[in-house]
């Protein structure tokens, strides 16, 4: 087993991996940029090395600096977390060259799955189900019509070089196909300087379902149930759960076996995730493979009872998987909310700043993986995820109840967060009924929020007055030396508050 592991990441996932190291008796090494000196992962690690300025390109994405820190610290393995360098095959290569074990798949597997077209070719060979269509450019409107007849309407035209919805057209009838193809091509040309457009069957209201796999370096591969990640905003997952309400044990087994086949076709080792689209008739189609630990791995941990990060480390250290497929048992239901520093009332604009007051939920069925603390300043430089809140229950209804309760206990003062969005989701009838697809969140956000019926204006008025009265009391009480000068307003008030608070508590 490794004696020392460097974590090439920051935020909650770095803390998550550090905790696993601590549990396994492994020394953990953090790396940090200028702005992250006081970040939680630095405080929690056993060792920490500065790797550069705040810009990620000069620190968390800087392969040379990270390997230098590994060398200085004597770490013999690197956990990349997610994001940053986690799916960078060059980094995996560089680790191998430096004699440091990369905790993840081989560079070769990453390269194969990282290229969409290459992945598709390999997966076709392995007989993995795809959305019907072509992966080559259309040569003419006639060819398009012919293929569309074969796969059936509606169809989707997609720019080969595409992304972000550009050069995409949904076509419902043959009559619309020709003009749609022309406009898709010209949009693709403008956007990507490449007018190649291909055709696929359109999956309407799909669900995003993914399967967690684990593969050791001795040929053993297991799947660990699915996660439903249909609640997305701008292709970014927002809420994830396991199991999916629409996946029964038969479908689970079929998807799991396909996922394991994908992993084997890619000679995959360590933890990985196979993403599928599931249509309304419960047909599933391979989308892509994520060659790393996912943000949403905790929901799988809660329903399977295993620790994926421990297992990642054990696999990387050459151990055999300690259980087989038959030992995997799902129990209960888990739902994760990604808590972001962003303002749901202002188009989800990021909201960095100082966390002045933090109240975190606890008690039964609640897990929080956090990268923040009270008094910490959320920097402007990175992804605004602060923490993940996961509710577990014996069934989906109880998981939702727990999550609702925990969200109501959660308070992050001083910055805006998306907690209110989750409070709305867990109370939404469609969510409670598991009527989910990738369009769910957009629909919810376009609908009028339910009026929070009971208005507490009286209580607000009384509370606001009491705060003012306590401020005034503490200003004039005591030694009388407290300045009321304006530039000291906030810290002065805060310290006075301390006193007022103590006074109250002694009553």
């Amino acid at each position: 087993m490794f004696k020392k592991i460097l974590i090439a990441n920051r935020g909650e996932i770095a803390v998550r991996v550090i905790r696993a190291c601590r549990e396994m008796g492994i020394t953990s090494v953090a790396v940090y940029s200028d702005v992250d000196r006081a970040a939680l992962h630095v405080l929690k690690a056993d060792e920490a090395y500065h790797i550069g300025p705040s810009a990620a390109s000069e620190s968390y994405l800087n392969i040379a600096k990270i390997l230098e820190a590994a060398k200085r610290s004597g770490a013999t393995a690197i956990h990349p977390g997610y994001g940053f360098l986690s799916e960078n095959a060059k980094f995996a290569h560089a680790c191998a060259d430096a004699g440091v074990k990369f905790i993840g798949p081989t560079a070769a597997s990453m390269e194969m799955m990282g290229s969409k077209t290459r992945a598709r070719q390999e997966m076709e060979k392995a007989g993995i189900p795809f959305v019907p269509g072509t992966s080559r450019g259309l040569e003419s409107a006639e060819q398009a019509k012919e293929i569309a007849e074969r796969i059936g309407y509606p169809v989707m035209l997609k720019a080969a070089a595409g992304g972000g919805g550009k050069g995409m057209r949904l076509v419902h009838t043959p009559a619309d196909l020709k003009s749609a193809l022309e406009s898709a091509k010209s949009e693709a040309q403008r956007a990507f300087s490449d007018d190649e457009v291909y055709i696929e069957k359109a999956i309407l209201n799909p669900r995003h379902i993914e399967v967690q796999i684990l593969a050791d370096e001795h040929g053993n591969t297991v799947y660990l149930g699915e996660r439903e990640c249909s609640i997305q905003r701008r292709h970014q997952k927002v809420v994830e759960e396991s199991p999916s309400a629409v996946v029964d044990s038969d479908l689970r087994q079929r998807m799991g076996e396909v996922a394991a086949r994908v992993a084997k076709a890619a000679n995959y080792t360590n933890a990985g995730t196979i993403e599928f689209l599931l249509d309304e008739n419960k047909n599933f189609y391979f989308l892509e493979m994520n060659t790393r630990l996912q943000v949403e791995h905790p929901v799988t941990e809660l329903v399977t009872g295993v620790d994926l990060v421990h297992l990642q480390i054990r696999i990387a250290a050459g151990e055999t998987l300690p259980f087989s497929q038959d030992d995997v048992r799902l129990r209960g239901h888990a739902i994760e909310c990604r808590i972001y520093a962003e303002d749901p009332d202002n188009n989800f604009f990021p909201s960095p700043g100082n966390i002045r007051l933090l109240r975190e939920p606890g008690g039964p069925g609640v897990r929080e993986d956090s990268g923040m603390y009270e008094g910490w300043t959320v920097p402007i430089d990175y992804d605004p995820m602060l923490a993940k809140l996961i509710g577990y229950g014996s069934d989906r209804a109880q998981a939702i109840e727990r999550l609702r309760r925990a969200l109501d206990e959660f308070f992050i003062g001083g910055i805006k967060t998306n907690i209110s969005l989750f409070q709305r989701i867990v109370r939404d009838d469609d969510f409670k009924a598991a009527k989910l697809d990738t369009g769910y969140l957009e629909r919810l956000l376009q609908s009028e929020p339910r009026d929070s019926s009971y208005k507490n204006d009286d209580v607000v008025a009384i509370a606001a007055g009491l705060f003012a009265a306590l401020d005034a009391t503490s200003m004039t009480r005591g030694n009388g030396l407290q300045p009321a000068s304006s530039n000291n307003k906030s810290s002065g008030a805060a310290s006075n508050w301390k006193k007022a608070s103590r006074f109250e508590a002694l009553r």
Binding site: G353, D458, A464, G465, A468, A469, S501
Partner: protein
Amino acid sequence: MVYEIIIDGNKRRLELDRRSDEWECVLDGHEIPIDMVSTHADVLSLLIDGKTYEVKRERSASSQNIWIGNTCYQAEVRDPRSLRGRNRAAGDDDGPKKLMAAMAGKVVRVLVAEKDEVDAGQGIIVVEAMKMQNEIKSPKKGVIQKVLVAQGGNVNAGDVLAVVE
């Protein structure tokens, strides 16, 4: 103590009187028995008619948010004895308007120069944080009196970025 408290545009009149351990509270002429304890600098526990309220306050330069449970209210408190309210928002007047940063970030572009004429709604400064850009627009037609930040500089929420006259 007497306060004027404005919530959602409604003005309330609150009289508070501390009698040793207890607070006497009269809201808009009605006496309301309350039981209050402060559990943290910005947290109160209120008991009114058997119901509990954990009330949290967020303060910034320009406003005060009062949270009750998971609902946030903006409350402005005025002490009628003083000439102006504690939280009187800046820029309510005619005359020069200050453009303030809504959030901390980095100034990625300054779109105007001092003395430039600008229209209402015209972009003045672009601030970036966490890979998202926010264009701060002029609140009125006028002339840029001052630009207080430069490209590449960091700003905090509430910082004045520019003044339009």
